[in-house]
């Protein structure tokens, strides 16, 4: 099983430690991991802003970079779902097919559904509040969306339950947006910040020391607010918890 690690542009620049945790954990689980070094960005920022054609050349180079892998794994649901859901249509504009769309997985999804991980050596004796990200929940179905009348599940919580000593909470308004939304965050900054502040309040009300989640972009947005307001809560990506001690 050969896995290509897809590290989104901002994770690459800002949170390389998340990428390192991804590698360590996959390696520990016996997966052959590679990182195509010419990858850049999936194109979601431009597309959500209304310029999806600008994303087509990025989609083409993404396809090339990840052609040889059986799976593409990414620690950011939103980027993964952009590839999965939009690449086929974007590439069809140039008469091409997407070969990555069907093999891209959110990191937790990959651990849960493909590797079916049922034990981990991780210890994390802390109280965490799980951030259920919009695209992870409503596009990749990492957990049951709160709006739907379907059996309740959470792949992220399933994985966290394998960690020793952890106490897992979820905020009120379980899977409401954090207000990021890419360029929405700057175009509608007042609403975006307001949604983010409310979200953090809900996370903090659980008494958690850490806000954790499968999507680095939501964590980045909330971290920006927490740092501005000097709030006593920390951020950690789910992968970093799962890889704790490796």
């Amino acid at each position: 099983m050969k896995v290509g690690l897809f590290i989104p542009c901002y994770v690459n620049a800002i949170y390389p430690e998340i990428g390192v945790a991804c590698y360590k954990l996959l390696d520990y689980l016996g997966v052959e991991v590679d990182y195509p070094v010419n990858q850049t960005c999936c194109g979601q920022p431009m597309a959500n802003a209304g310029f999806e054609d600008e994303a087509i050349p990025l989609a083409k180079s993404f396809e090339k970079e990840f052609a040889e892998y059986e799976f593409v794994v990414v620690p950011s649901g939103s980027c993964g779902s952009f590839v999965k859901l939009n690449y086929p249509r974007l590439l069809s504009k140039e008469g091409r097919e997407s070969h990555t769309s069907g093999k891209v997985y959110d990191f937790c999804e990959f651990l849960h559904d493909i590797l079916k991980v049922d034990k981990l050596p991780a210890k994390f004796p802390h109280k965490v509040s799980v951030h259920n990200s919009c695209h992870g929940v409503r596009e990749l179905h990492l957990s049951s969306a709160s709006e739907l009348n379907i059996p309740r599940y959470s792949k992220v919580k399933d994985l966290l339950s394998l960690v020793e000593g952890i106490e897992v909470m979820e905020p009120g308004k379980l899977d409401e947006c954090c207000g990021f939304g890419g360029m929405f965050a700057v175009e509608e900054q007042a609403v975006s910040v307001c949604i983010g502040q409310d979200k953090i309040k809900n996370h903090m009300a659980t008494g958690a020391e850490y806000i954790t989640g499968a999507d680095s972009s939501c964590l980045m947005h909330m971290q920006g607010i927490v740092e501005r307001e000097k709030l006593p809560v920390k951020f950690i990506h789910v992968v970093q918890i799962l890889a704790a001690g490796l």
Partner: protein, 460 residues
């Protein structure tokens, strides 16, 4: 880099107390909706059925609309056809004129709002009285609805108390809801008794029988159609369902989705005029048949105006109905506004974080967020794309399609704390309001990988 919606939203949020109250009040409606939805085991099946029946009906509209009109006429109803708002208003006025109408009492109708009917009739000297309590409150205030199901949701009871002191001469300082409701009831009773014509909208039209179905909680549509001798129904052509069996799917979904009630207090079926009375149905197109030919947005025609998409929308709840430039706010309003007049209503397209919650609550499964995404793609060709977003997107494309330049920029970024000009230029100033900028790591993941710092030593 901000739209009229963003600016209005910022003003709304400045009054933090009001914003927070608005957010929580509408969230409560979402919670009530969830409770109802979870209590119906076949909820998701119902949504899928509702989606399919509406798609079937609107794509066979020629057949159902003819069947509906024929049946209504056979029932003794006078059917009118209005191609647009102007025709609708003229038809209504003609009927009123024929009956020497001084007072028209009406129940809630978003279609008459869409047609700007009230100002048109008032101009002609007709006394138009809204009889839905929320609508009456905002009519007294001279403001438009801020929500399509709860039009006065943004107004607190203290403000209603003050308003009623002025217009209904209620006790000073009394804002007890029961007291105010009784005052409104007494006032409206008199309006019902003295109106010449009653008007309703239509939640559904049943093709098989020609029935019009009107859902209210106050029974005001029933009062307004039981006393005056003339009943006018204003109905969009997309309101049709084939038969009663399919109607039952929607009556199960509508109130649960809208207000979290199992059913509206009144679900009234109007089939024919009362003895010695007249019943008119005005069937209105006003752009709907054009939407039928638009594959990217045809699904908006399934909408049953429940407003569940507004109640769940994190942006709507924190920006209020008036922050949108179209009279219908929230996800469905963004789309309907763009369908109506994109060059006028494009400012609302920014009011979405693409969280997709609206898609999930929609009882007829309209792809609301996907449609907003699609509108954004069209803004540039309309000449309405935000210049800064365009610059940023172009800049990103350049950087990301040139990995060596991108990675060189990344390498320098932490040391010199510089960023490409297109990123710093404007967008990140907005980020800086309320948020710290993320800090570049000393080394990017790519640099670490290239130096072999990530890989296990015996791996490569």
């Amino acid at each position: 880099m901000s739209t009229k919606h963003a600016e209005a939203a910022e003003r709304f949020i400045e009054n933090k107390e009001q914003e927070s109250w608005h957010n929580e009040t509408l969230w409560l409606v979402r919670v009530k909706r969830d409770n109802m939805a979870m209590a119906v085991p076949e909820w998701e099946e119902l949504r899928e059925l509702a989606n399919k029946i509406k798609m079937h009906t609107i794509t066979h509209l020629h057949k159902y609309i003819q069947q509906f009109a024929e049946n209504a006429e056979a029932n003794g109803v006078i059917v009118h056809w209005a191609k647009d708002a102007k025709e609708h208003n003229e038809i209504v006025y003609d009927i009123l004129k024929k009956h020497n109408t001084k007072k028209l009492v009406k129940s809630k109708s978003m279609l008459t709002e869409e047609c700007h009917m009230n100002p048109y009739l008032i101009e002609k000297g007709i006394d138009v009285v809204e009889s839905d309590l929320g609508e009456r409150i905002i009519q007294f205030m001279g403001v438009p609805p801020s929500h399509i199901v709860m039009p006065a949701i943004h107004i607190k009871r203290e403000a209603v108390g003050k308003l009623f002191e002025e217009v209904l001469h209620t006790e000073k300082g009394n804002s007890d809801p029961t007291y105010l409701t009784r005052a409104a009831r007494a006032h409206l009773r008199n309006e019902f008794l003295t109106a010449d014509v009653g008007m309703t909208g239509a939640n559904f039209g049943v093709a098989e029988t020609g029935d019009v179905v009107v859902c209210t909680n106050e029974g005001n549509a029933d009062m307004g159609t039981s006393i005056p001798k003339v009943h006018i129904v204003s109905m969009g052509i997309e309101k049709l369902v084939p038969n009663h069996k399919s109607l039952s799917v929607y009556t199960r979904l509508l109130a649960r989705s809208a207000t979290g009630q199992p059913v509206t207090s009144y679900t009234s079926h109007f089939r024919k005029p009362r003895e010695g009375c007249e019943m008119h149905i005005v069937l209105v197109d006003n752009g709907r048949s054009e939407i039928l030919s638009n594959p990217e947005h045809i699904q908006t025609l399934k909408c049953i105006r429940c407003a569940a998409c507004m109640n769940t929308c994190p942006v709507y709840r924190r920006s209020g109905g008036y922050s949108y430039t179209y009279f219908i706010p929230g996800p469905i309003g963004i789309n309907l506004g763009m369908l109506k007049f994109p060059e006028r209503y494009y400012d609302n397209v920014s009011a979405c974080s693409l969280c997709y919650s609206c898609n999930n609550v929609c009882p007829v499964k309209i792809d609301l967020a996907d449609q907003i995404y699609r509108w954004r793609q069209n803004l540039d060709s309309l000449g309405k794309a935000d210049k800064m977003k365009k610059l940023m997107s172009g800049g990103m494309k350049f950087l990301f399609t040139h990995p060596s330049i991108y990675y060189n920029t990344l390498k320098m970024a932490p040391a010199a704390n510089i960023m490409p000009r297109f990123m710093i230029y404007n967008g990140l100033n907005e980020w800086g309001k309320g948020r710290e900028l993320p800090r570049f790591s000393g080394e990017s993941f790519t640099q670490m990988w290239k130096k072999g710092k990530v890989q296990r030593k015996n791996n490569k």
